[in-house]
């Protein structure tokens, strides 16, 4: 089949786009990473012309014109080979623009969206995101419901979970324990207690995993642990009998980008099988934890001329193949050459959350920025609020929002209380019951005064 040429009249000019890949890139709302890659529209008008043109592309065409060839990329093969034509049927005759309207109608609800998810490809989802407004991204994501389980239940309506991120620059066990206890006493940690280790070695992560496991076991906390080392390090730890709950890995949307991370689909499958075999979950078997972020494919020189938002959506195709407990986009970590300022970070956070949810993923977001981006904590407040409204499954909880190991700013334990108060959200139900039992929180939301001899404080001092 010959490649169609897309063209449209706008503002008295005729715009041509030589491929779907070019059309997708030029239709993307402005961001520095696509400029850096030389893929962005050359004017504001060309960008909207591309959006007009993209809105007329039939969804079914995305199954014909592949952005990255089937033969050269295993992520493309995964997308094509697992596409569910029956699930796709309700929207198979729609264009991208009509699909937006289908998503927004009253009749489209959590049930119909869950049924549709296996019929959608990341490229279809990325395309509709490009023409949607911020409020569209929030409204449709809010309709989606993705619930996952390991030792608790994450993603129920009216709930907001928090990853407790107790990082320390030298992985000092007591330093890590102090931050864990601080987070627990602030009612956080139901998504996972997850540490980014300073040193990626088997002995280092074994120490940390045993440390978290001991706290979880002794105080019977309905949550799970994770140390975010490379997947091969975690596999080796599992072989040695270390208590691994969730297996973590950073992933991207192309085979070449994943290769630069040292992973492949088969390696991820091996890790999932190893974690399942440990049978450590009590209420469910979602054992994987993935992190993603726009710009990672370009940063690895592995984007194949595809824009960063579409590459990001393709990473979600990788994630959903492994039924993860948690997926989060680390939206502002990568730096201003990919997302320049608060406006770009906010837009990308909403796009990623929407695309992940529509594809059936339990999306959270590391709402964050670095000090060389044009952003500040007020921008994070804005994105936090918007994602809370959109029904984000979980956010990060870091002492004072300041990660002293990774050197960036995210959201704090206090931020989660702000969001729970303004939107009436509670932690995962099992964790909520535990917080009440430990006299940390009452009514699911309000923190109780904690005495200086609370068991958790004595645990660190012992």
């Amino acid at each position: 089949m010959p490649t169609p040429h897309w063209s449209i009249n706008a503002g008295g000019l005729r715009y041509h786009f030589s491929s779907l890949r070019e059309l997708m890139a030029k239709a993307t709302p402005h961001r520095s990473g696509d400029e850096l890659a030389g893929l962005a529209a050359s004017s504001a008008e060309e960008r909207v012309a591309a959006q007009l043109c993209l809105s007329e592309v039939p969804l079914a065409h995305f199954l014909e014109e592949l952005l990255i060839p089937y033969e050269t990329d295993e992520v493309t093969r995964l997308i094509v080979d697992t596409h569910d034509a029956t699930a796709f049927a309700p929207v198979a005759g729609l264009t991208v623009g009509a699909f937006r309207e289908w998503l927004l109608r009253y009749e489209t609800d959590a049930h119909s969206l869950a049924a549709l998810a296996p019929g959608l490809t990341p490229e279809m989802v990325a395309a509709v995101a490009k023409i949607m407004s911020n409020q569209d991204l929030i409204l449709v994501a809010k309709k989606c419901r993705v619930v996952t389980r390991f030792r608790n239940t994450i993603g129920l309506p009216g709930r907001l979970s928090v990853r407790l991120q107790p990082n320390h620059p030298t992985d000092d066990p007591q330093g890590v324990a102090a931050s864990i206890v601080d987070g627990l006493l602030y009612g956080c940690g139901d998504a996972v207690i997850g540490i980014n280790p300073a040193t990626d070695s088997v002995p280092a992560i074994e120490t940390l995993l045993r440390l978290i496991d001991e706290v979880i076991q002794r105080y019977e906390i309905p949550t799970q642990s994770c140390v975010l080392a490379h997947v091969t390090t975690q596999l080796e730890a599992m072989r040695r009998g270390t208590p691994v709950d969730l297996v973590f890995q950073s992933i991207a949307g192309t085979e070449a980008a994943n290769k630069s991370f040292g992973v492949s689909l088969s390696l991820l499958a091996e890790a999932q099988q190893a974690a399942l075999a440990l049978r450590r979950g009590t209420v469910g078997n979602n054992v994987m934890y993935f992190e993603t972020g726009q710009g990672s494919a370009l940063s690895a020189g592995a984007h194949h001329g595809v824009d960063q938002q579409t590459c990001e959506a393709r990473a979600y195709a990788v994630a959903r193949h492994f039924s993860p407990l948690l997926v989060n986009t680390v939206v502002g970590f990568i730096g201003p050459e990919y997302l320049y300022d608060g406006k770009q970070i906010i837009r990308a956070g909403l796009e990623d959350h929407f695309c992940g949810k529509l594809l059936g993923l339990p999306m959270g977001c590391d709402i964050c920025y670095t000090n060389h981006a044009e952003a500040c904590q007020d921008d994070m407040d804005t994105l936090l609020t918007l994602l809370g409204v959109a029904g984000c499954n979980y956010i990060m909880g870091i002492p004072g929002a300041d990660d002293i190991m990774l050197g960036y700013q995210s959201t704090s334990f206090h931020d989660s209380h702000y969001l729970r108060q303004v939107l009436g959200l509670k932690p995962a139900p099992e964790f909520e019951a535990w917080l009440e039992k430990m006299r940390i929180v009452s009514g699911g939301q309000r923190l109780l005064p904690v005495g200086e001899h609370h068991a958790l404080i004595d645990h660190v001092l012992a």
Binding site: N167, D172, H372, I398, P399, G400, H414, H417
Partner: protein, 261 residues
Amino acid sequence: MQPTPATHDRWQTLRQFTSARIALGRAGGSVRTRTLLEFRLAHARARDAVHMEFHGEALAAALGRAGYETWRLDTEAIDRRTYLLRPDLGRRLSPTAHEALAAQSAKWGKRDLAIIVSDGLSALAAERQTGAVLTCLVPLLRAAGWRLYPIFIAAFGRVKLQDEIGSLLGARHTLMLIGERPGLGAPDSLGAYFTYKPHASCTDANRNCVSNIRPEGFPPKAAAQKLAQLLLESARHGLSGVALKDVGGELPMPLSARAIA
């Protein structure tokens, strides 16, 4: 202590174990006023460090007074905004700088080490820590018989800039001292990245790194001693990067380095 409607956290004692912002207290579930403003102050300092003008002239003069010959270079990044948006431009010398260096290269002849100083993401780091690092590092290497080029001062550089400079000169080693992305509590942290036989196709895997060089982190004198030790090892084995790490110099690449490279 002033009276306050806020709640104090009763686990202040845990602060001895970490520099993380724990036991902050709260007003309802929100941060206290002092906490809010102290965070804002730390961020303001980090922002100022990123955008501070690099006083390369003054640094050259100071190094000159300390007995070092210097040579100024610039990259294709013409201003701070361009530098932040286009990392590729900070990895290349400007045509003028390239030509001037090429013309000078034969006169210097091939030497063992080219040290390059750049503001990177913190001019404050380059200006504050460079002198102390060189004062300790250079005598150690000279004592081992190393011949050095003048100290190169390059504004708006990225780590990879050393590959072009090194291959143009035919230097055996390059060492780049570059301001790291400021953290909230550390606006003046210097990174040091060295490469054996630098050339255009080198990547981060070919380099070794000592990071967080500042008095409150890895003190400059101790960092210089570590660097000297690693450089001597690198010369002895004829390699750098992951391969050197494997033969004993265990130094994890800090994640913050990814933002500079």
